[in-house]
Subunit: 309 residues, 2 copies
């Protein structure tokens, strides 16, 4: 395996001011794996679903190189379900319903050939579950990227901090970075979070782009301004999947290559928003992605002489 | 005159979660002129103050090349006063009090040597006043940049649209662009607003940067992530002043040069936020500005090969 991902595989019900998707396939690990599959052809997915989960989608994942030996299918049970409603700004949302279902029983057991994977993506989940995945690795992976959310900061901070200490890159949103650090300034927040263990921090700001911090450097990538945002669900996970997939292919963890990975992740996330659920991710090919990367290059490109000169 | 600016010159009372400035000099035309003075040495300011306005500040403006023949001082009256309180996020604020005072009597009469100015900045004001300034120009200026706000969209849309039709560049914030166009998507908003007359649209997004749109191109510049934001008051006007000042010096209105002007404006705005009111703008020199422009270059710089290659 080049990469293993632990995270939710789920059904979502999504309401936006512009449309509704009644029951669409979602989940962090689904988005992450699909995005990473642009760059990789041997990935493992660690999660759990009920026997209501469509075999067709599992086959689409397999077709893209995602091994599902790590995906437990629980007979007679239902998959994790999330329902949310986006506000008019499409940047904020309310959770209407969460049915954990099989997620309550998620006790990850890594297949043998997952245990040497050099790249590990810990999707947003109970930090105890994230830790359990790391515990089963036979040696320290080359790179571990982790996502989390405010819920775990409120309810399981101690466990959360233990996992954060063990990862190379934490990728969270701006509100989460502020909560985790207790600092409003993202520059100060980054300083505090990097002191917790990770070598790099990625702060995802949705339609406002993403920041990458190391101890002494910072990089910013915008989100591509889109004509229509149909559904932002999964954009953050798609970003993370593109990010770690690109790194796993290049096996280069320099700051300059992390910057490229941020651009690639942003490009993939922009596609994700164009249709409901995973639909758009299943359509795009490398030519589409290259065109969008070129859009990013043009979006931020400038040359300038200094004022004094 | 290289540039004339019409806009408020005022006193502000500013509350932030981190401090209070009881009575500090502010106003759009003040910030715009100070920022433009980095690039220009012969500017005119069109506004009105009461005789309570400090001569010391007027002298600081004159020292920087801002001619004040167009600034009417009304005896026995008080200057425009605004009081506002910033929320914890420092990106949103409530207006606590507005005392128009002399602003009610603002009836701009341009001094003779203002009437041939090639660059005109219309700061946020009643669109009737903005129009009156344009009416007095002896010939069409080389470039007119305009700011406005939601208040005029609510109360004077017809007058506003007439002025928008006459300017080259409209520079407003994202909420204003959405309100003016009736479109949530900034890409769609830009399309509609450019159809109203301006050749370019600048959308200021505060801590989230700025976008520049022409009919077929788009450019994005981030805001510099700051360790501490002390007071964002005037940052948008400082941006506009740096933007038009840079353009007036280079006399190049190509898209590529507008991109540079956006970066320069963003650099100046970042300084503005570091202290209350105009304080920081009075301290910085060209070396500071060049250092900050270099920070912007590094912040967004990346090189990438395409996925297919």
């Amino acid at each position: 395996m080049q990469l293993i991902t632990v995270g939710t595989v789920a059904f979502d019900r999504i309401e936006t001011p512009f449309g509704i998707a009644e029951k669409t396939v979602g989940g962090a690990a689904t988005y992450i794996s699909l995005a990473a599959s642009v760059f990789l052809d041997k990935m493992g997915l660690v999660s759990v679903v009920g026997d209501d989960f469509p075999e067709g989608v599992m086959q689409q994942l397999r077709d893209r190189g995602v091994d599902l030996e790590g995906l437990e299918v629980m007979a007679g049970k239902e998959s994790f379900f999330w329902a949310g409603r986006y506000h008019y700004d499409m940047n904020t949302r309310d959770t209407l319903e969460t049915r954990l279902n099989v997620l309550l029983d998620l006790d990850p057991q890594l297949p043998e050939d997952y245990k040497q994977a050099p790249y590990v993506m810990l999707g947003n989940l109970d930090p105890k579950v994230q830790a359990k995945v790391l515990d089963q690795m036979e040696e320290r992976p080359a790179l571990v990227v982790m996502d989390t959310m405010n819920f775990w900061m409120d309810s399981a901070m101690e466990d959360l901090l233990k996992v954060i200490q063990r990862v190379d890159i934490l990728a969270i949103n701006d509100a989460e970075a502020r909560q985790l650090s207790g600092e409003h300034s993202l520059v100060r927040a980054a300083g505090k979070i990097l002191a917790m263990g990770p070598k790099y921090l990625v702060i995802k700001k949705g339609e406002h782009g993403a920041l990458l911090f190391s101890k002494d450097r910072v990089f910013f990538a915008p989100a591509l301004p889109l004509e229509d945002v149909v559904d932002p669900t999964g954009a953050g996970d798609t970003f993370a999947g593109g990010f770690i997939g690109f790194l796993a292919r290049s096996q280069d963890h320099s700051f300059d290559n992390l910057k490229r990975a941020i651009i690639v992740g942003s490009a993939l996330a922009s596609f994700c928003c164009e249709k409901f659920g995973i639909e758009r991710l299943l359509e795009i090919d490398k030519v589409d992605i290259d065109q969008r990367i070129q859009d990013f290059v043009e979006l931020v490109d400038f040359d300038i002489e200094l004022v004094e000169s």
